[in-house]
């Protein structure tokens, strides 16, 4: 529709404002949680490293890590069916290995228990052990699975992402003074301020919000819309082969043959990839005449998050096959995934992603606040619906951060040898989050805001202290030793605590302000005008 037609048709803008408000509200609480945990997930390996402070490894080259891992596997499982080796990079630091045992030929024998994933020090190949934790993986999984059984969590996340996309488009149409208001943020003006903050956080980072929402949906599109693939490929495996190349599936020959050294294979793959490095190495039928070694490229420094793979013979190192060069569709989907996860990003771009993610969180949060502030009449008992929305706002905006802080605190305070320790950490996050939200319902709404925000602030500010008392990697010592991950983590926790503390202080100020000035500040104007533009 042309701009002139839009200006002539207040009906369009009004209906867009209606869609924007209601979709934004209904999906908003989940979207807030998705934005916040997704933003944290840009530091997924770093969070995991912080949550296992016992492990402090120096990075080595991929070839060294592969050599030490293979040496370890030769000792513990020389006749396994398959070795998976996740090679470390500067961010993950540890090598991860997973062994698949050969199935017992006797059909009556009990299947061998699944071997757990192990971590190795990449320089020595020695096993490293640390406290059991889900680490950064927890926030990452929650971001799109919402701790709901498969496939319902992903479906709900997709539904909310669809609502987000609709809200972005309807929001842009609704907000006609988009560039005039670009730099406007007025404080202490009630509803006006929330509208300013919502506009500013949404418009300034609009390219990011649109990109992250769209690519998020596309990432899971094969699950949400499986039909094109089903219509074209009878068997899902045929599709996988067409896109990613055939996996070697030769049976073990039963003849012994020494495994070829893997470091030269990595050098050759790296050359073929123009300097790229492998992320994963899979060895099938090690020490057998039919052994193969598959190397999968990592996604660092490439927008496409899905790299190619090369299969080598495990006996003489011959190159057996290479994954097909990605077609336009595969390339597009890989780049979309890469843009969403920022897997290519170095430190500068990663922090950019992180800050823009926070802007997205702020956009959703201020939108939720705006919905209630706009509808509430001063000195009147709010309708049940508005009261409920307010309580849910407290639950999402103030109590989720408190829950996330509790997750990290539990990591430091639970005994290291506790049974199913990782799961307990996760439970503590949800008990804190929902428990605090329920407790807050017992308090008047203004006090509930101040108190829950203060609890969250104290929990974050306590993290560096608890870290200093329970590990030998406290802030001061990390600073002296140049342990920049731990320094940055502590500083980020202090900053988050300060921000939440500031929010609590503002909430306290507003609740102690006399009712008269609040009424003056929240004076309702023409409702359509309020929703549509800022005079």
């Amino acid at each position: 529709m042309s701009k002139a037609a839009l200006n002539d048709a207040p009906g369009v803008r009004q209906s867009m404002a209606w869609i924007h408000g209601w979709l934004g509200l209904l999906a908003g609480w989940i979207l807030f949680a998705m934005f916040l945990t997704g933003t944290a997930s840009y530091f997924r390996p770093e969070i995991t490293r912080w949550m296992q402070p016992e492990i402090d490894l120096r990075p080595v080259t991929a070839a060294t890590a592969a050599d030490t891992a293979v040496a370890h596997l030769q000792k513990v499982a020389p006749t396994a069916e398959q070795w998976f080796i996740s090679l470390p990079d500067a961010r993950t630091t540890a090598t991860r290995i997973f062994i698949r045992e050969r199935p017992n030929p006797d059909p009556n024998a009990k299947p061998a228990p699944r071997r757990p994933e192990l971590r190795l020090a990449p320089a020595t190949g020695e096993e490293v052990t640390a406290r059991d934790t889900r680490g950064g993986e927890h926030f990452y999984r929650f971001h799109f699975q919402l701790q709901i059984p498969h496939p319902w969590g992903r479906w709900l996340a997709g539904l909310c992402a669809m609502a987000m996309l609709t809200a972005i488009i309807s929001g842009v149409i609704t907000h006609k003074r988009i560039f005039v208001d670009f730099f406007t943020l007025r404080w202490s003006k009630g509803q006006r301020s929330w509208l300013d903050a919502h506009n500013a956080s949404a418009v300034i980072a609009l390219p990011f919000h649109a990109m992250i929402t769209y690519t998020g949906l596309i990432t899971l599109v094969a699950m949400y819309m499986p039909w094109p693939i089903q219509a074209n490929y009878k068997d899902p495996a045929t599709f996988e082969t067409a896109v990613f190349g055939a996996e070697p599936d030769a049976e073990a020959s039963g003849r012994l043959a020494a495994l070829t050294p893997v470091a030269p294979l990595i050098a050759r793959a790296s050359k073929e990839w123009g300097g790229g490095t492998p992320a994963t190495m899979v060895v099938r039928n090690p020490n057998d005449a039919a052994a193969t070694v598959t190397l999968f490229q990592n996604s660092r420094d490439r927008l496409n998050a899905r790299g190619g793979s090369i299969v080598f013979s495990g006996v003489d190192g011959r190159q057996l096959s290479t994954s097909p060069p990605p077609g336009p569709a595969a390339e597009t989907s890989g780049v979309m995934l890469g843009l969403h996860t920022g897997s290519f990003a170095g430190p500068v771009l990663r922090w950019t992603y992180f800050l823009l993610g926070l802007a997205g969180t702020a956009m959703v949060g201020t939108g939720l606040m705006l919905w209630t502030v706009k509808r509430k009449r001063p000195n009147a008992v709010p309708f049940f619906g508005i009261g409920l929305a307010e309580r849910l706002n407290v639950g999402a905006i103030a109590c989720l951060p408190a829950g996330m802080a509790a997750f990290l605190l539990a990591n430091r305070l639970l005994p290291a040898t506790l049974q199913s320790r990782g799961d307990t950490e996760v439970s503590i996050m949800f008990w804190t989050w929902f428990g605090l939200a329920a407790l807050a319902c017992l308090r008047p709404i203004r006090r509930a805001w101040t108190e829950t925000l203060a609890v969250a602030a104290v929990a974050f500010l306590a993290l560096p202290l608890v870290n200093a008392f329970t590990t030998d990697r406290g802030l001061f010592r990390s600073f002296v030793h140049g342990d920049w991950l731990f320094v940055a983590f502590d500083l980020a926790m202090l900053a988050t605590g300060a921000l939440l503390g500031f929010a609590a202080w503002r909430a306290a100020q507003i609740s102690s302000r006399p009712a008269r000035s609040r009424r003056a500040a929240a004076r309702p104007a023409n409702p359509l005008r309020e929703a549509v533009d800022a005079p």
């Binding site: 404080w187 300034i204 500068v348 950019t352």
Partner: protein
């Protein structure tokens, strides 16, 4: 320097902010450049930022970095403008000076 595009974007957005009516009224400093001059400056700085982004991050990540950093630069600018408009604009000058300073020896 990899943050150059962010500094240049901040300066560009500060120019754009200063070309808006409301802010011209609020920061009463002697003689302001005309709106057209400020906009021309902003465009020039944005072009420079895009060039530096592609220079630092390559042809594929460069555009991502450019768009991301323009957005990121807007966040502190709006927060500063809301509390301390003159400070925000002075910071814009400083950011431009820092970024251009690193360009000269190169």
């Amino acid at each position: 320097m990899r943050l150059e595009p962010a500094l240049l974007s901040y300066a560009a957005l500060a120019c754009l902010a200063l070309s808006s009516h409301r802010l011209r009224r609020d920061v009463a400093v002697g003689r302001l450049p005309t709106v057209a001059t400020l906009r021309a400056f902003a465009v020039a700085l944005l072009v420079l930022a895009a060039w530096r982004a592609i220079h630092a991050f390559g042809p594929y990540q460069g555009p991502v970095a450019f768009i991301g950093m323009v957005s990121m630069a807007g966040l502190p600018l709006v927060l500063l403008l809301s509390r301390w408009p003159r400070g925000a604009l002075v910071t814009g000058l400083a950011a431009a000076a820092m970024a251009l300073g690193t360009l000269i020896p190169a």
